[in-house]
Amino acid sequence: MAVETLGSSTRPKVAPWNDPVVRGWIFQIVVVGLVGLLAWFLVSNTLDNLARQKIASGYDYLHHEAGFQIGDTMIPYSPADTYARAILVGMLNTLKVSVLGIVLCTILGTLIGIGRLSPNWLLAKICEWYVECFRNVPLLLWLFLFYKIISESFPGPRQAISVLGTLFLSNRGLYFPVPVPNPIHAWMGLALLVGVAAAVAVKRWARKRQDATGLPFPAIRTGIALVIGLPLVVWLLGGAPHEMSWPVVKGFNFQGGSVIQPEFTALLFGLVVYTSAFVAEIVRSGILAINRGQGEAAAALGLSRGQSMRLVLLPQALRVIIPPMTSQYLSITKNSSLAIAIGYPDLVAAVNVTINQTGQAIENVLIIMAAYLTVSLGISAFMNWYNKRIALRER
């Protein structure tokens, strides 16, 4: 209360145009007004030009039949479906390659980053070269290179490279057998979820027990056994159905089985090797940021190198690593839009075709922007939450 009276009473009386508060407000209003005016000008000018050119506007076209085929889809799609569904197919493809890319580049990048700090000279040098090579060449060139290698160096489907008669590698992609759908698969999926939950529970319990009694428990091995074992048990109980759909050359191409297409492989591979080079540097800097004494103390306690990395160094390094990692996750998602250069049907590809068929560039570009904005903000929000969770808690 005292502060408030003090503030208001000591404020000198000045003319409004000399009052910094009033002036501040005036400038803010002028700036906002100018920005608003500019936005209005751009929007009205665009609408006017579109009307003059008789270009239709609005989002009605989303319900029209798309009419084009998409080569790689996660959900059923045919040319008779709508533009909206075609764009959704593209969106799911973008998410698929982004999520896999994020997981793989994290694993690979962490290994390379740790490798660079290895006392083994050869390993450290190899990791260093990896980083320098992949980081310093534009991603687009890597994509072209990988795509050319896959499409030009592998034989056609009839001459496919066969691995034990099970996997078939050709310029149509990697074909592999998949189980024929069976009701038991749903139960196995459920068992997998239960296994994961159980593994998490075991990990928690083991930690509590170690805190209380000091006795360690092989929680990781038990967890892996649970995750793999439970679905396996369900499968055996279900009579172990093992009917498989095998890829067989029929007509132009393999029929049956499942396939990882060259465009997808080239894109994922390119994104992972490129981004993992950056991740490696982030991980290395994170580990180097930790006080030397931490590693020495861990060694003095008798922890192995692996244990000290996993239990002492990495958890502390994460605080340095997470913020720049978020940027890398965002870039991998956004960079996946380069897919169009090598023919992977991602979001941008689907929307670009839509633009061409409907002529409604502005609406469609807004859709792409909104989609990437949503995904990127989602990743950011998750990483910020995680960052807060692992932040150093001062007691």
């Binding site: 000018n45 085929q69 040319p79 056609g156 132009f252």
Partner: protein, 327 residues
């Protein structure tokens, strides 16, 4: 304030600039391709040159902007180019919803399929289950889906933005079939196979699955500019009908044929009506040639493509090329 993006009509802008900005294909032999001296050549390029000759009396006053099938309409709509002459099919949607207008048809095309002879395919009806390479954002992509749907066949598309990359994927065997307008398939076959492949390793299947009338496109709204584009093409066709070539055009100035006199501006009036120089058609024929000359030089017997006149013969020879009367 709205609408200031366009100072005036397209034609005024072009005239004031003194140069025509023409959107062409990014490298298709016979239609638009820069030669070893960096000079653009081809049937589509000749359309741009004819319009420039009509406008400025100089067929060289063109700036060529190579565009992919994806970029072209946006480039035209946004004013980056004045017109498109890049194998664009005249369709209802493009004529209406896309806000475009079309000139006269410069090439009557149809979509076909190119396959490696080794596959032993004789007809498009045998293509069930094939992997098909196609450029995105084209009528081709839609016709392809329609054709396979209509014939109850399935296919897997490989869609790559750059036409060169699509072709590379096809030659590498990533796809069994390459589909495009037949003219483009001939161009691909003639110019592109990497050794040891030769043009003879590939065959264009007999089925033509669509009508693809290729015409220059311009923005809806400037009728005078449209007239000039349309009649530049007609002038080339009319010249062929009348036997006027780039070689004999000067002698033809002395002709007594009233049609020729009107066309070449000996009898004035046509140029004034179009709003260009009376010598407009003379300049086109002198500098670019008549339609037949352009056809033979770029894609016909005088070129590696060796495309027959077919539908693109003059109407009096049983084809579809028909110039509206210049009077």
């Amino acid at each position: 304030m709205a609408g200031t993006a366009w100072a005036g009509k397209d034609l005024d802008t072009v005239k004031a600039r003194g140069q025509l900005v023409c959107g062409v294909m990014e490298g298709t032999a016979g239609f638009a391709l820069a030669n070893s001296q960096g000079k653009w050549e081809g049937l589509d390029v000749d359309v741009c040159r004819a319009v420039a000759a009509a406008l400025f009396g100089d067929s060289e006053k063109v700036k060529y902007v190579p565009l992919s099938s994806q970029q072209r309409f946006t480039a035209l709509q946004s004013g980056e180019v004045d017109m498109l002459s890049n194998n664009t099919t005249w369709t209802l949607t493009r004529d209406t919803a896309l806000g475009l207008d079309f000139g006269a048809v410069t090439y009557y095309d149809g979509q076909g399929f190119l396959v490696n002879k080794k596959l032993g395919v004789k007809s498009a009806k045998e293509l069930n289950g094939a992997t098909v390479c196609v450029a995105p954002g084209t009528t081709t992509e839609l016709n392809l889906a329609d054709y396979f749907r209509a014939n109850k066949m399935t296919f897997k598309p490989v869609v790559i933005e750059k036409v060169n990359e699509v072709r590379a994927a096809f030659f590498a065997g990533r796809c069994d079939v390459y589909t495009n307008d037949t003219s483009s398939l001939y161009a691909t076959r003639a110019a592109n196979p990497p050794p040891p492949l030769t043009p003879d390793d590939f065959v264009v299947l007999p089925e033509i699955i669509s009508k693809e009338p290729l015409a220059p496109a311009f923005r809806h709204g400037d009728n005078q500019f449209g007239d000039i584009i349309r009649w530049s093409q007609y002038a080339m066709v009319e010249a062929e009908e009348d036997g006027i070539t780039s070689k004999n055009v000067d002698e033809m100035l002395k002709s007594n044929n009233p049609t020729i006199k009107r066309l070449l501006g000996v009898t004035p009036g046509m140029g004034k009506a179009l709003g260009v120089d009376e010598k407009w058609a003379y300049n086109i024929i002198k500098q670019v040639g008549n339609y037949g000359e352009s056809f033979e030089r770029n894609i016909g017997s005088g070129s590696p493509l060796k495309i027959k006149r077919g539908l693109n013969a003059l109407w009096k020879d049983g084809g579809l090329q028909y110039a509206m009367p210049i009077r």
